[in-house]
Symmetry: C2
Subunit: 297 residues, 2 copies
Amino acid sequence: MIKAAIVGYGNIGRFALEALDKAPDMECAGIVRRSGSAEGIPELQGRRVCSDIRELGKVDVAILSTPSRKVQENAQKYLAMGICTVDSFDIHSEIWNLRTALDRSAKEGRAASIISAGWDPGTDSVIRALLSGMAPQGVTYTNFGPGRSMGHSVVAKSVPGVRDALSMTLPAGKGVHDRKVYVELEPGADFEAVSAAIKSDPYFVNDRTDVEQVPSVEAVNSLMHGVNLVREGASGITEGQKMEFNMRINNPALTGQVLVMAARAVVKQAPGCYTMIEVPLIDYLPGDRESLVRSLV
Amino acid sequence: MIKAAIVGYGNIGRFALEALDKAPDMECAGIVRRSGSAEGIPELQGRRVCSDIRELGKVDVAILSTPSRKVQENAQKYLAMGICTVDSFDIHSEIWNLRTALDRSAKEGRAASIISAGWDPGTDSVIRALLSGMAPQGVTYTNFGPGRSMGHSVVAKSVPGVRDALSMTLPAGKGVHDRKVYVELEPGADFEAVSAAIKSDPYFVNDRTDVEQVPSVEAVNSLMHGVNLVREGASGITEGQKMEFNMRINNPALTGQVLVMAARAVVKQAPGCYTMIEVPLIDYLPGDRESLVRSLV
């Protein structure tokens, strides 16, 4: 059994724990939280919860369910202890730099790390890599949503007069996205002023953005998200090859599951840092090689 | 540059050669044919064509574009020479046995082999593996077509009174397939008798089969094929995750391209035999690791 610890217990951590409990070949060594306490969290009662992973005894892999900005620091700490790490770091432009930094730390600690193991980056990256090989000359469009953008929601919420906000990413096709922002206002706030402030923010100014006032943001909120990933191109010199991947998913549930897939795979890798496309797919799956090949190939 | 030889020059070999010519990191060492001759094939004029691969000098990988039944014998011959092999062996029930046999041959020859590198088995297998990891509890449906089934066409063509036949696989949903058979008859043949003979053949008797007489099978023929691969299941304990892969492709063009992807990957593997899900995706792609991670992840 692979012993995994969950580090951070927000939305992703909660779903990662559920996926870990369902994995036939893994067990949860415990949950690491800054508070070191399970107080106020009913489903953590009876679990080992601590503030320092060393209290958990032998841990093979740390599942980092912390914000992207905290990933490097946390991963380096665990890799130095010889504990493998996985994360769903999602700042696309910084992935290579993170990989470079963690590759060094991982080799020094004689452990392995799989970074950006969510759905985008993550499983969508796997699809993009596969499709680019199948039709090497061509274009890929990744269309997200409809679904909540955490970053944009936070920005909208920070506008004066806004009590709560939800920014939805809406696919407009060919990789272009529109935004729909639902706002719940403080008493006396001016909707037109709030709407103008949101639309002129650098996060929104380049996108077609619609702002709507609602009595309750909670009432329109959802964890569902999706993607439509399209590639059209040529295999060899034969044009007109068309491939498409669609999914509609509970966003943190899929992210938690992918983190668990990566946690299973990472303990099988040589020391170093990897993105998902650098690891054989079979390593992400439970079960023996023969059964997997027989049932999937 | 990876030096690849094409072994067999039928439909797949021709498209594999086109894909090979387009690969920036590979070159064609030559074409191996039983006849050893390019006679009557305009596009092979000026190419090195021979009956024995040893005439081509150093070859890194042999791309086997021969029928599935010939794969094991051919692969073992080349692996014994230390030449890597790739093939698109498509008899699903025999893949594990082929892998076992070639794994031994590959290790003895200190070469590597990637088998069943087409689109199903092949790239569809990669998708199935990924989706089964993303929603471990669930069901996958693979719906093929519309597109030609070679095996069924051959059976229909062998019925007395049939001059030419084309059997199309039509997706009926949830992994069930119907068949539509176009027949061109010999003069004086009885259509009703032909239709009954086809429908009662073991290849067709369990499927809903429609037979239609046409003046020319050539006129309704096409190289296009497709797949709709659906998985619905749970990530962790969260039900309702839905993922779908669709493609519409020129069948031999995609198979030829996937063989070239596999040929690029196989030379990077340790001695042994692999299916596509056992090799990191990045190995199938041209270019340096940093560029690939930056553009795809």
